[in-house]
Symmetry: C2
Subunit: 319 residues, 2 copies
């Protein structure tokens, strides 16, 4: 078991004497969101900020302004350093932090950080991780996995990070060995909001049985996804299918084909889940129905733990 991470305001295992360290600011800067924590040297969260200031809505010269505005609101002085993970380091982000290549030691993440040039404050952006074959990339998830191995250095197994682009990652001896990506969250959102199925799902709700039935059907017969989607629309027209059944069955179909595609990851029978809690709950029941033991990890604690660990890597040994 990993330590209780329910209280995300305390970083797990800062791992060093606080008197030697500086206080700093940690930022998770994604495609659509921005989350900031002001941290004491020991890892205690002193303050936080968040907003919809994601990469997708920012020009290249907008990142520095947004960051300083948020820091000014919290009265953070100019000599406090900042460490950032996520899409801010993409080519189309603030300042590109080139990918490091899997298989890779997670302890190398800090040394791959890029200091933002021309910005008065000390700002470091962590790299993402790439994989040459099969071709794949991640930005942000690697930091959460670093958070996991920071509290569990002996973690050997699979980490699944459900989300817009769900990642399945093999972790061994503090390394990311290999990983794959399924666009399950993005496709669910597109079909619910922009396809003919929006008429069937617009009422919201969730039918747990319909979810699990659809997972089982498509996981065992993945091709059936192709000619089962439109049945949701037909059943709504002819049989007044409820939106709670339609939404859950749609999600179950997409999770079902994801499980079929990632069988080699979860076939060993144990998976750690990091992500938004209701989404992780869906993956938990889907995996449990396939006799997979699941461990739920707090997403914010993993992000903060990873950023703290990477910051310590940057600061170097103080012995």
């Amino acid at each position: 078991m990993i330590p209780d991470t329910g209280n995300a305001t305390n970083l797990p295992n800062p791992g060093r004497s606080t008197s030697e360290s500086r206080s700093y600011v940690a930022v998770d800067w994604g495609t659509s969101s921005f989350r900031l924590w002001r941290l004491a040297a020991g890892g205690e969260v002193l303050d936080r900020a968040a907003g919809p200031f994601g990469m997708a809505g920012l020009p290249k010269d907008g990142f520095g302004r947004v960051l300083e505005e948020q820091l000014a609101r919290l009265s953070v002085s100019k000599n406090v350093p900042v460490i950032i993970c996520g899409m801010a380091g993409a080519a189309q982000g603030w300042c590109e932090a080139p990918y490091i290549q899997a298989p890779t030691e997670l302890s190398q993440l800090g040394s791959g950080a890029v200091r933002v040039p021309g910005h008065e404050r000390e700002v470091h952006i962590l790299p993402g991780v790439m994989q040459a074959k099969p071709c794949n990339v991640m930005r942000g998830e690697e930091t959460q996995i670093l958070g996991l191995v920071d509290v569990r250095p002996d973690y050997n197994g699979i980490v699944c990070l459900p989300g817009t682009h769900t990642k399945w990652v093999q972790v061994r001896d503090g390394r990311i060995e290999h990983f794959t990506t399924c666009m399950t969250g993005e496709i669910f959102s597109l079909l619910c909001n922009h396809s003919v199925l929006k008429h069937s799902t617009v009422g919201g709700g969730w039918d747990s049985c319909a979810f699990l039935e659809a997972v089982a059907q498509v996981a065992s017969a993945p091709a059936s996804l192709a000619d089962s989607l439109f049945k949701l629309r037909a059943e709504m027209l002819l049989e007044h299918l409820s939106s709670s059944t339609a939404r859950a069955r749609l999600s179950g179909m997409l999770v079902g084909i994801e499980l079929a595609a990632t069988r080699s990851y979860w076939a060993e029978g144990a998976v750690a889940l990091i992500g938004e809690s209701s989404l992780c709950h869906n993956y938990e029941v889907a995996l449990a129905s396939n006799s997979v033991a699941v461990e739920l990890l707090d997403s914010e604690a993993m992000t903060l733990g990873g950023l703290a660990s990477a910051f310590r890597q940057l600061e170097g040994p103080h012995e």
Copy 2:
């Protein structure tokens, strides 16, 4: 072989003496488009109109106005009747024409037509076809299939109608026996225009080899669709994948899982294709690579032939 349908201005086989018939107007009224033909009693196309006046953009009381505006432009007098197929007959269309249930004789289509009440001109809307189990619906494709059996009364086999919602239909002895629907076209469009893959596909183009390779890969391993989609984005980032390869591979993956889902339809080894010509060409090469004999039928000729046949059903015997 069916007669040459390359010249869509001549309806195939009007099937009766023209002197007894009235001239009329045929309309294919879909979700996003409106196509109108003014026909001589013998089937000759005298005039045509088209526009983006689809059901999706019209209030319930807008259909009659749009139709009369188009007819006024062509100086069609008030005593000329109109026959319509497609979404204008849906519950959210102009005037609901309830589905007839498969298995169904295509010769029953005309008798399922609904005359639009309260409209001065004689306007008939053809029904769609439903299937109770597995639940499914079509509106418009049944008219094209009627067009096929009008010129080929002995057609027994599979008809595939590629499009936004591709239909696979078993036709036997002038009947629609059963059918299924794949949302391949809509999903391709959503992923190309609204997902993270838009960055990879925005340049257009078409790599035929990439299309066929992806069809083969996903048709033989349907689950691989789930973790192959994001590779397009990763390969664009890391290996500068061209948009012509990305678009064709994306389409190939979606057609591949469609072929896996509809194997029972094409496994007999012959399919007639009705639809937009470049799209049908893609299905043709995908099916040919699975040793399926393909026949391409002119979409407009099938629509006009079906509307003409249904109009004759409405008019009744003149003997």
